[in-house]
């Protein structure tokens, strides 16, 4: 019998740092760097504030989407839902304004939250109770919500009552110690989202359901309820985004929120959340939303491409970013 001596391999201790987890933030830093190099105006306070404020909507909705996707679902209806909630909210505010004055804004916001939650509940119940592919369900409700807002606006636009504009405007344009309100609101939503997903039982169950629904069920998790709730959270996030959105342009139109669903899902995926579920990266999602908005901003600020090709370059940058991410963090 021959025996060879072997040096004992030192077992790795401590949790390994996963580079992949940082990828979205590195990408964000890189894109900011490139932006700064391409156009000196990019790094101006005004421009950065604009971009960050603007990304609030997609970021807020994408937080909700992180829950839905982490639980193994998908929601394509968020853009239309946002338009629909905006419409209902404006109608409520306009209706309440004569009687309640500026209080109508708060009441309208309350209505928005309720409607958003209900829209989400509707999506969630069809997905879970009806056991239908979320892709199909939310594609259907996407059409439904979009048609409702078109109907409500008669194809035109549904403006907020003039008397409320001034009181409401600051919610988008105002700031608190130099930080615009939408950014603050996003921050609150992100912190709440991160707390809910990482620190509570519910969040644990969301990821378990997305990772392996069968195991979750055996472990006593009400898979249907957990999944449905993610859609409700998504609906509430959409409502919050709507509340920040209305003061910006003061109207709902049939094009409000169009194609946002794709931006939202892209933000979530760029942020490191897997579309198959089982994992949710709240902060990554925020980075993803910022990346998308900054790319668009840099494209306009730079004079590099024909207006026809802007979309191509954006698409290419996203793919290249994902490729770079893949090959730097390897597996």
């Amino acid at each position: 019998m021959t025996m060879t001596a072997v040096a004992p391999a030192t077992p790795a201790t401590g949790s390994r740092i996963r580079w992949a987890d940082f990828a979205p933030f590195i990408a964000l830093a890189l894109i900011i760097l490139i932006g700064t190099l391409i156009n000196s105006n990019f790094a101006s306070h005004a421009n950065l504030m604009n971009v960050i404020t603007r990304s609030a909507f997609v970021a807020i909705i994408a937080i909700g989407a992180t829950f839905v996707i982490a639980a193994g679902g998908l929601d394509l209806s968020v853009g239309s839902m946002m338009a629909f909630v905006t419409g209902i909210m404006i109608m409520a505010m306009n209706g309440l304004a004569p009687a309640y004055g500026d209080w109508a804004i708060a009441m309208g916001a309350g209505v928005a939250l309720v409607v958003g939650g209900l829209c989400g509940l509707f999506n969630g119940l069809i997905v879970t109770v009806g056991r239908i592919e979320p892709f199909i369900v939310t594609l259907g409700t996407m059409g439904i919500f979009r048609a409702f807002i078109t109907f409500m606006t008669d194809g035109g636009s549904l403006p907020l009552d003039r008397s409320l504009r001034d009181a409401y405007r600051p919610v988008y344009f105002g700031s608190f110690f130099g930080i615009p309100y939408p950014v603050l609101i996003t921050l609150v939503v992100v912190l709440l989202g991160a707390f809910l997903l990482y620190k509570t039982k519910y969040g644990r169950r969301v990821t378990s359901v997305g990772s392996n629904a069968e195991v979750a069920r055996f472990s006593g998790v009400s898979v249907g309820r957990v999944r449905t709730l993610t859609y409700v959270i998504q609906g509430l996030c959409v409502a919050v985004a709507a509340i920040c959105y209305v003061p910006r342009l003061g109207a709902a139109t049939p094009t409000t929120g169009q194609l946002w669903e794709l931006q939202v899902i892209t933000a979530v995926v760029i942020g490191g959340t897997l579309l198959r579920g089982g994992k949710g990266r709240i902060w990554g999602t925020v980075a993803g939303a910022l990346i998308l908005e900054i790319i668009a901003n840099v494209m306009v600020l730079s004079d590099l491409v024909s207006e026809y090709l802007v979309a191509a370059v954006q698409g290419a940058i996203i793919i290249i970013a994902m490729l770079a991410h893949r090959f730097t963090s390897s597996r």
Binding site: M3, T4, S15, G203, S208, V215, G220, V221
Partner: protein, 516 residues
């Protein structure tokens, strides 16, 4: 419904923890279990044995609320119970450790353990306490995993230990272990048996399923035998020898388990591997295999045997100085090129890497040898069915319908289907990782015989096995791995359990499970 109090066991001493009466289970027209009645006493180990597909796992799922019986009743101390869900059974104190790994791969070990019953402080999950308690439980079951490891990153054996730890999280009245040792090696098995004994002492009733009859004999108080979905009977363990158990399971007399050792014929080397390094040195080594030889690779769980072979086949990132098959160098190492050169590999992870659980049997059988079975572009469906029928009889796959999805086969029959699958391409070199995992004793000898016949025909075989007797009984030469490296080579009379265990642990002698 009348609530009946649970009668005391005939033996008198211990109270009954659970009794099943007339349990039946049918899937559509397929009857899997009929009229099963058995009882479990508090503080006993009740073993359930039977051939592959006899219905053991199904019975356990009925007892633990994972599957609803089509007929029959369950009683616990306060009367008749009907578990609508597994969680109801868990509330009643009955927990099942599945034969298949059922854990959420994306979650950490601690998160899996406490899934559905997370500890909280205020609104927050109390990860600190959960991790601490998890660490304690992992230590108790002898796992080297850490509470914060992602389950998907763990080797199979560690995952199994995590499953067992999960069952121990709370006080239980009945713990059901369905082939818990199938993926464990001697050390872990010994530790597990200790745990089972101590649970018994604490008055827990344990249902124990295993194809390793020595374990059953060493551990069980009573033994129930199932055959083809029916009860054969229940006996005190002291009344049954291992041979008798096997006969009761199979319904006939058994022949020799291991084939007689062949005279060692030093044939030409058919496979030689020089300086193979898998994924930055996690596992590395050089070895060769000769025609007509059975090479065993031994080692502890996690010693890197699986990784080495998967690296060799290009299934993991790896590089090698030189790999030769039948004298020809393989330049581009990949599963395809090696398979084309005559290699076949049977994985230890049959659900994750071996079988398409959602597909029916024929596509599974022919997936690897698709080009062989179907010479042209077009599928020869008739030929596939013929091959399936042949495989079902050759490998004694117990299946009641040929259109069943592979995932619905019993564990052992899945293993046999997998074996049939890799043999479809008539390889000249086969590498089998845990060849008889989950295979009943009757079929084991058949598989051994099969390997023997193959080698006698001039082919060569590598066997990775955590089951010592199997490794020793089959191998002409044994390589032992530790921490990713080969540490010993045993030949001829050196091949015995002592030496393998010694080399695998360097100096630490381990008592193999169930040995007297």
């Amino acid at each position: 419904m009348t609530v009946q109090a649970l009668a005391h066991a005939p033996s008198g001493a211990a109270p009954l923890a659970m009794r099943a009466e007339g349990l039946c289970k049918a899937y559509g027209a397929i009857t899997v279990l009929s009229d099963i009645s058995l009882d479990i006493e508090a503080g006993e180990v009740h073993a359930v044995i039977g051939e592959n597909g006899a219905g053991k796992s199904t019975l356990m799922k009925l007892l633990s609320g994972h599957v609803a019986p089509t007929d029959g009743r369950l009683f616990m101390e306060n009367g008749s119970v009907a578990f609508a869900e597994a969680t109801e059974a868990e509330h009643a104190g009955v927990v099942l450790v599945h034969q298949e790994i059922l854990l959420a791969a994306d979650l950490t070990v601690a998160q899996n353990l406490f899934l559905g019953r997370e500890l909280t402080r205020g609104f927050m999950v109390d990860d600190k306490t959960m991790n601490r308690r998890t660490a304690a439980l992992l230590a108790r079951v002898g796992s080297v995993a850490r509470p914060t490891d992602r389950v998907g990153d763990l080797p199979l054996a560690q995952r199994q230990l995590v499953q067992i730890a999960r069952a121990l999280l709370e006080d239980r009245k009945i713990i059901i272990l369905d082939e818990p040792t199938a993926v464990l090696a001697n050390d872990e098995v010994a530790a597990l048996l200790e745990i089972v004994r101590s649970l018994r002492e604490q008055g827990v009733g344990i249902l124990y399923i295993s194809h390793r009859l020595n374990e059953v004999q060493a551990l069980a108080d009573r033994i129930t035998v199932l055959r083809d979905g029916r009860m054969v009977g229940t006996w005190p363990a002291s009344e049954l020898s291992q041979r008798r158990m096997a006969e009761l399971m199979v319904g006939r007399e058994l022949s020799m388990l291991y084939p007689e050792k062949r005279p060692v014929v030093a044939g030409e080397p058919v496979l030689s591997v020089t300086d193979l390094v898998v994924d930055d040195g996690v596992s590395q080594g050089s070895f060769s295999l000769r025609a007509g030889e059975v090479l065993g690779i031994g080692g502890m769980i996690g010693s890197g045997r699986t990784e080495l072979i998967e690296g060799l086949l290009g299934l993991r990132p790896s590089h090698a100085r030189r790999v030769e098959v039948n004298g020809r160098e393989i330049v581009h190492r990949s599963v395809r090129s090696l398979m084309a050169a005559g290699l076949a590999y049977l994985t230890e992870d049959r659900k994750g890497k071996g079988l398409l659980v959602d597909a029916s049997l024929a596509p599974n059988l022919t997936l690897q040898a698709l080009d062989g079975v179907n010479p042209g572009v077009v599928l020869q469906q008739r030929r596939e069915v013929a091959e399936l029928k042949k495989a079902v009889s050759d490998y004694d796959i117990r299946v009641r319908s040929l259109t069943l999805d592979a995932g619905k086969l019993s564990g052992g029959n899945q293993q046999k289907l997998l074996l049939a699958k890799i043999m479809m391409s008539s390889p000249s070199i086969i590498i089998i990782d845990e060849p008889t995992r989950g295979i009943d004793i009757g079929n084991k000898s058949q598989i051994y015989g099969f390997i023997d016949a193959m080698v006698r025909a001039g082919k060569a075989c590598i066997i990775i096995s955590s089951e010592m007797p199997e490794l020793v009984g089959l191998s002409d030469r044994v390589l032992v791995m530790r921490e990713g490296r080969f540490v010993a080579e045993l030949t001829g009379a050196e091949i015995n359990e002592e030496n393998v265990a010694y080399a695998a642990t360097t100096g630490r002698h381990t008592a193999a499970a169930g040995e007297a």
